[in-house]
Symmetry: C3
Subunit: 168 residues, 3 copies
């Protein structure tokens, strides 16, 4: 933590934003952790958290998906394009295992991060239209999900002048 | 729609944001639909829409590109890295067709979404430097494009205190 | 430049935002340039710049990584999924070289863009937890890096009512 309590109180007086709204649109570990680290850091700074899981991100909210997130090649400068190495069978599993180990030296696992977000008051929302087109049923969702809402609910949060809104 | 008219009017009084500015930087269906769904939902909530198409997103504004957007593997937890399945010839086309069918059960096609955005008052902007380096000419663009503008114009919109700005 | 000085002064009076905070989470050329173009355009409009490099983006701040960024397939509608073409050895290098040439007709190289950002007053920040889990040491970083900070520092900037915050 960098900001002291007095600094936070000072900031609060100057109209600083107090809500963090993140669209979690990707389901790979490399894009989940940025969202989760922000969501677990914000409460200590007096910032409320709403995470809106949509598209690939929604699968992470299923009982099966929450345990099986893998490392993506997205934006990895070392794996810019499919290459011969990447397609050897077993490589994906090996790389995911290696990076998972490294990440878990620094942060809790995906299911534990989600639990921590809930314990610190954060809210977990599932995107209703994505549920439909991905064939996810309400009973498939993990118990940490607060509700299933649509794009207009998300826009309502984002239009709050106090909200920091990120699309990850 | 979740918010009732009176709630929206109440929100408007409290300085809620009334503009949605989205950078559309990716050209795959899985990242286009989040932008399009927000852009078609916002007008009913009294929120103006500006979409700024850049990099891979720009191709979607070409007569050829608007009809040929495909599903990306970006952030898909099930396809975290190039693997042997993904490289079998024909797999891409098959997966795209399958997911397109599912998506189109819930939302209109890409060209129709763009038309809907325009009909509800949204504006479609092409990024001028991307036009140059991608070799896209003004005559290649679909008629729905309002103008061709640069980064400073986008920053002008984003710096509006009433704007919700997302990079997708 | 689109806005004239008087327009900018007018905008300043109306409470327009004067800070640009970008999370640079991807290390491929196609996602670096959008961040760099915004960061080099903003200062001329009186907008301060803070770039927070995290995850794949962090590697770009290493002496080795800054020279070796490649084109990604992320969101490229023409390369939606690993396919047979993409896995031929040498294809990645060839495509990167081609697109690099095109991009460099319009903008300076990655190391030169970073220098330009610094010269116009922008700040370059490295994400501290990413340093740990990616095994990057302080001595590996390019001299343009201003500091190594965590998620709470980033949230402090983003919560400023004057900040435009993007996650790229």
């Amino acid at each position: 933590m960098v900001l002291a309590t007095e600094q936070l109180q000072e900031a609060a007086k100057q109209g600083f934003k107090k809500k963090l709204v993140i669209v979690v649109s990707k389901g790979t570990i490399d894009m989940l952790y940025p969202a989760f680290v922000l969501a677990t850091t914000a409460p200590a700074m007096g910032i409320e958290v709403d995470l809106y899981f949509t598209f690939w991100g929604l699968r992470v909210l299923t009982k099966k998906g929450v345990k099986s997130a893998k490392i993506g090649a997205v934006g990895n400068p070392g794996i810019p394009m499919p290459n011969l190495m990447g397609v050897l069978p077993g490589m994906t599993a090996m790389t995911t295992k290696m990076m998972k180990k490294r990440i878990e030296k620094y942060w809790p696992s995906v299911p534990d991060m989600i639990k921590m977000i809930k314990e610190s008051g954060g809210r977990i929302h599932a995107c209703s239209p994505t549920m439909g087109f991905m064939g996810v049923d309400e009973k498939d969702l993990i118990p940490e999900v607060d509700d299933i809402v649509g794009a207009s609910t998300f826009l309502g949060w984002a239009s709050d002048p106090e909200a920091i809104t990120l699309f990850i």
